[in-house]
């Protein structure tokens, strides 16, 4: 039996991922896979993408030593991979720009996207403005309120931001609405999914456009310190940042750690920690670890960070975790705020709340005996200023 795809659509020993899409979207997904493969083997695509990543996004991003923070935490060395210094301020632009170029090659003049923290929305809006594509972004109303600066940025770039009122008004509902919108316009529009989730080929597509983070970081670590760190660490919502940093280190003898949102409690509905709290299920087109109730209905989630506030772990990252290749840990809202403050005071860098979850784990890693850590600083924290102000009383 052939499903018509030519790339592997499943990950790991438990065959996570797959393509659980409504029939209307199947041919568009088959077409997308074909276009993706054609682009990857086309030197013109690679040349254009590389040039745009350099001149528009600002790659390569630096690998910054953080000696004062390392000393405070009892680490020998800490390096920060600075995705916060990309144009639009987070790693999301790597994938958004690449998919926008791919969409233009496919003759799609309209772009649809979802966004949680707004970083993927802003990145997509910027890429669309640059390439002359029209763009509509679906965003939950809760996220629009807590990430208001990003809503304004998207609108300045000429993007239509559609508020999604349903449910908790966060990323899950935004993905629902973006998938519905794509089903209605899939003949004209490309859907730029921002996380390594959704139906095949999206998880593979997003991961392959994000591994530039880890490839650069690995080469920079070798160049700057002559060796690899003992631990590579990233936060993980769907997994675009986690996979982007960690996958290029999969063959290395070191610890790979992804950090989920521990929210404000252990009970279902109080966090977005899928590894411990989730069960195998299907949401948004893929099979993976999913926070759900006993009826197979998606559970509510909670996190101070809009970008990590999603009930499913991306299928490839979930597979790597279940197969023992990536450790998945959690950090609470409070821990993340503490981690953010520490980085601000020690190094003069304001991290996004998402990245702060990775920072929050550093003291635990030091206590476990880690001496050298490379941390993916996925984004900058300007969008989170109002949360920092109210929660940290500044």
């Amino acid at each position: 039996m052939t499903t018509g795809f030519s790339l592997p659509s499943r990950f790991g020993a438990q065959f996570l991922g797959g393509c659980y899409a409504p029939e209307t979207l199947m041919q568009p997904l088959l077409d997308l896979e074909a276009a993706f493969q054609a682009a990857l083997s086309d030197p013109a695509f690679q040349t254009e993408l590389k040039a745009e990543l350099r001149h528009f996004v600002g790659r390569p991003t630096p690998l910054t030593p953080a000696p004062r923070l390392a000393a405070k935490l009892g680490l020998k060395a800490l390096f920060l991979k600075r995705e916060d210094l990309t144009h639009t301020g987070a790693h999301k632009i790597n994938n958004a720009l690449a998919q926008a170029i791919l969409a233009r090659r496919m003759g799609k003049a309209e772009i649809i996207a979802e966004t949680g923290a707004g970083q993927h929305g802003v990145a997509t809006a910027a890429a669309c403005a640059r390439l002359g594509l029209s763009c509509t972004v679906y965003m939950g109303v809760t996220d629009m309120a807590r990430q208001a600066p990003n809503v304004a940025r998207m609108r300045l770039f000429g993007t239509t931001v559609v508020p999604v009122e349903a449910g908790q008004g966060t990323l899950k509902e935004a993905v629902n609405e973006a998938l519905r919108a794509w089903a209605g316009r899939c003949d004209k529009a490309h859907y730029i999914l921002g996380s390594a989730l959704g139906p095949h080929p999206f998880p593979t597509l997003v991961r392959s456009f994000q591994t530039v983070i880890g490839e650069e970081a690995r080469a920079q670590a070798m160049e700057q310190s002559g060796s690899l760190p003992e631990v590579v660490l990233a936060c993980a919502g769907g997994g675009s940042n986690g996979l982007g940093l960690l996958v290029p280190f999969l063959d290395d003898n070191l610890r790979r750690v992804a950090v989920e949102a521990g929210g404000h409690g252990q009970a279902l509905g109080e966090h977005a920690a899928r590894l411990d709290g989730g069960r195998m299920g299907v949401l948004h087109g893929c099979k993976t670890l999913l926070l759900q109730d006993e009826h197979g209905h998606t559970a509510e989630t909670a996190s101070i960070s809009a970008g990590l506030d999603y009930p499913a772990l991306g299928p490839e990252l979930a597979a790597l975790a279940l197969d023992g290749k990536v450790e998945v840990r959690r950090a609470s809202d409070e821990d993340a705020l503490f981690g953010a403050r520490l980085l601000c005071e020690s190094e003069g860098i304001l991290p996004a709340l998402e990245s702060s979850h990775a920072l929050a784990l550093l003291s635990a890693l030091a206590a476990e005996g880690a001496a050298t850590v490379l941390l993916g600083l996925s984004g900058r924290g300007d969008k989170d200023l109002s949360t920092y102000q109210s929660r940290l009383g500044i």
Binding site: C19, E23, R180, V282, H297
Partner: protein, 251 residues
């Protein structure tokens, strides 16, 4: 030919009302109905069915309670259970089959399960008498349609409509009334599919007015009425009131 395939959302207005609605549907002479299992994330549904699912879930219409409410009912058309995959996966094939046994369910329409993704699960259900309804969208090429129809085969003329028909999605997008559906491409599509297969066809998405229903019948296919019906029932109309004209309307 089956003149109409209505869709009801289980648990809307209530699970207690379900046996009465099914009996009324049978009394109207309906051969089959689609019954929606309310889901938390109905990605293929428009606002009307989303809201109906939320109402039903809020009133306790979990998959388990819906299937238990159907147990033992005989005064009912054949039921095609319209659902998303995850609730079925969480029950597992064994438990699902034991729950389906005493119900009038004859087939499953799983919106987010293309053929080939859950081969063992699907085969186990089919061999126990619960085939998956093949869905054919406007984006489905004829070559793919041929493959879908062979992966989800026709059990043959002796089987009831519910187990034989293929569902033709009339337009892009999600379920719902919205803008009217352009019937010209639908006519073309139904003609092409009739050349591929002998099995009955149902056509749905965006059909509700008498003229559209009659036009689908004139093509030799069964029109599906979903969102418009769910909305009318929620507004207090009875099933008989909502369907009587629609059952007899003709081109």
């Amino acid at each position: 030919m089956n003149p109409l395939l209505p869709f009801l959302m289980a648990g809307d207005p209530s699970l207690e009302a379900l046996p009465g609605l099914l009996a009324e549907a049978k009394a109207l002479g309906l051969e089959a109905i689609e019954l929606g299992l309310p889901h938390s994330d109905p990605i293929a549904d428009g606002p009307v069915l989303q809201t109906a699912a939320q109402r039903a879930i809020a009133r306790g219409a979990t998959p388990l309670r819906v299937l238990e409410a159907l147990a033992g009912i005989t005064e009912s058309p054949d039921i095609i259970l319209f659902t998303y995959l995850n609730p079925l996966l969480q029950l597992g094939a064994e438990r699902l089959l034991s729950l389906l046994g005493p119900t009038p369910v004859k087939a499953l329409l799983v919106v987010d399960l293309p053929f080939g993704e859950e081969v063992g699960f699907e085969a186990q259900l089919r061999s126990a008498g619960y085939p998956m309804v093949p869905l054919l969208a406007p984006t489905t090429t004829l070559e793919r349609a041929r493959q879908i129809l062979s992966e989800r085969p026709d059990p043959g003329p002796a089987a009831p409509f519910a187990q034989r028909f293929a569902y033709v999605v009339a337009r892009l997008g999600v379920t719902g009334t919205g803008q009217g559906t352009d019937l010209q491409p639908v006519a073309q599509r139904v003609g092409d599919l009739k050349g591929l297969s002998e099995r009955p066809l149902a056509v749905g998405f965006g059909l509700s007015d008498l003229k559209s229903l009659a036009a689908i019948r004139a093509l030799g296919a069964t029109p599906v009425i979903g969102s418009a019906l769910v909305q009318e029932l929620a507004g207090g109309r009875s099933l008989s009131e909502a369907l009587s004209e629609r059952l007899v309307a003709d081109a």
